[in-house]
Symmetry: C2
Subunit: 228 residues, 2 copies
């Protein structure tokens, strides 16, 4: 596709981001409470236009920096939504991304200023346009990734206990995992490094902290969750 581009139609192209965060055993999503028309007062995903001089990924990063103040966020493409009437304001092609961010790091003042809020995944209100479908697609993709790769690096604090990691998985998959089996499974991957100190606030006995080893080989692909 390269000859005489200029005679062909051009389109408005946007990015919409599903920003996952994790706090108090709950998977959350950063949503925006629209303060103007159309759909004023409704909740929507965080999005923005793609500029002429930026890739879709750069646009998503820019939007994330504007809202959360965070750079170097984990981002993954989900899907393109291009129905003609998906946005009542006009024909807009939207490229959907999901992001994982560490809630403890994010700039809440900035988020507040943009009228955003962290909403528990299982308590998502009605969203504008096709944003619910986008959210579902992003969640499926997140589960798929978490099922064959150990995630958590981008959602948990640097140091975490295995119970915290398990509860993250329980929040993502909305189901329980056997504590003993989960522990054995994730440790067998050899991606976690045991620390010498313990967390004593979540239990009486105290649980050792772990952290992700930053090896190159950490692209381990194994079945962590078999079916879902």
């Amino acid at each position: 596709m390269s000859d005489s581009h200029y005679q062909y139609p051009k389109h408005h192209v946007a990015v919409d981001c599903i920003i996952f965060g994790y706090e108090k055993d709950i998977l959350k999503v950063l949503l925006s409470h629209r303060r103007f028309q159309p759909a004023q007062g409704d909740w929507s995903l965080i999005g923005g236009w793609i500029r002429e001089e930026e890739t879709a990924e750069k646009a998503a990063e820019r939007v994330l920096v504007e809202i959360t103040g965070l750079k170097d966020i984990y981002l993954e493409q989900v899907e393109v939504f291009s129905k003609l009437d998906r946005d009542p304001g006009g024909r807009v092609i939207s490229i959907v991304f999901y992001a994982m961010i560490r809630l403890d790091k994010h700039d809440s003042v900035l988020a507040e200023k943009h009228g955003t809020g962290w909403i528990a995944y299982n308590k998502i209100p009605k969203l504008v346009f096709d944003h619910e479908q986008m959210l579902l697609a992003a969640h499926e993709k997140l589960k798929l990734k978490a099922s064959y790769e150990l995630i958590g690096q981008n959602l948990l604090p640097t140091k975490f206990t295995l119970t915290q990691l398990r509860k993250l998985y329980e929040a993502i998959f909305q189901r329980k995992f056997d504590p003993g089996n989960f522990r054995k499974k994730v440790l067998s991957l050899g991606m976690l490094e045991k620390q010498t100190d313990k967390n004593t606030s979540d239990s009486k006995k105290g649980a050792y902290y772990y952290r992700f080893e930053n090896k190159e080989e950490n692209l381990i692909r194994d079945n962590i969750v078999k079916r879902f």
Copy 2:
């Protein structure tokens, strides 16, 4: 994203399709031999522009009809490629799809007219721009799908033997599967319907034909190929 669209930049948006076909135990891809500048003589994927009044999926379907004469083709989104310089002719955002088509059904005269050819997957020549990356991404997605769903419906003739199905899988994964185990695995899914007639051309003994049962429950999600 809906207020005052008109002040925001618009982009050229294209679709590029990786069209998979299967013939003589070989996985093939339909490529186009460019007959004009730029990159004249080079091979490229089949693509086209998205029109104002069509979705990305519709654009891909239209392109496929133009080239193969086939409607109702299996299509799946792969990924968006949006690097600024990916197309030397200008800034083009490309939405990549892969398709599976039955080679026995396709219109070879039409394809010929467009300067296209079926190339074996493991003998792909150098492709223009970022089309090689697109092809790799599409192949990964195809393998992922084939690993948890029984595919073949869209690549094989209506009637096929289990050996033909196995060889399709071997072509997709570029590895061998144990004939006995493969047979037991796919039959255990209960998605195939044994026919009364046999194929006698591929072997002396003859092998029963099977066909896909067209049940709704055929959305079975199981591990057909564990790791790859």
